[in-house]
Symmetry: C2
Subunit: 92 residues, 2 copies
C-alpha cells in the first residue's frame, strides 16, 4: 500500500499513469507525450518505480517496450484507489 | 495532488494518519502509539511532511503540540481519496 501511494506521489509518474489510463491498452514507452518532455534516463527511472510498485506492466517487443496500466490487478488489491486518484487528478 | 500521495506513500506516515483517523480528534503528538516506536527526530520529520502536504493540523498547546487530521478539508479538495486510502489500509 505505501509503495503504490509513493509511486503515485510524483507529478511525472502521475501524468504517465493518467496517460496510460486514457489509452487503455499497451503502448510503446516512447509514445507517451509526457516521456518526450524529459531525459531518457528520467523516463526510465519513473517507469521502473511504477513497475516495481505493481502499477504498470512492461513487455519487450522487438526494440520497443510496451507499457500498460495494471488496472484490474490494482482494482483487486486496492479497490477504488486508482479510480479515485484518477478522478481527483482529472478534476484539477 | 502528488504531494498528498507522496505524504501518504510511507509506512510510518500512513500509520500516523490511520491512528489520527481512528481517534477523530486532536491529540498530543506523543500520544500516538506509532510515534513512541521511533526516534523523536523521525517522528518530527514525518509530522512536518504530513503538515506541509495539508493532511494534518498542528496546534501548540503549552508544551504539547496537538495534532489532528484535516479530514473535511481533504474531502473538499480530494473527494473520496482519504477514505479510499484508509479503507484499503484497513483491509490489509
Amino acid at each position: 500500500m505505501p509503495n503504490i501511494l509513493y509511486a503515485l506521489g510524483d507529478p511525472l509518474r502521475l501524468r504517465i499513469v493518467e496517460q496510460l489510463a486514457a489509452v487503455s491498452e499497451a503502448i510503446s514507452c516512447g509514445e507517451l507525450h509526457v516521456v518526450k518532455e524529459v531525459a531518457k534516463s528520467t523516463g526510465s527511472h519513473q517507469f521502473k518505480v511504477l513497475r516495481e510498485a505493481g502499477l504498470i506492466r512492461m513487455v519487450p517487443q522487438g526494440r520497443r517496450v510496451l507499457v500498460s496500466l495494471r488496472r484490474e490487478d490494482l482494482e483487486t488489491r486496492f479497490p477504488g484507489l486508482l479510480e479515485t486518484v484518477l478522478q481527483t487528478y482529472d478534476r484539477q
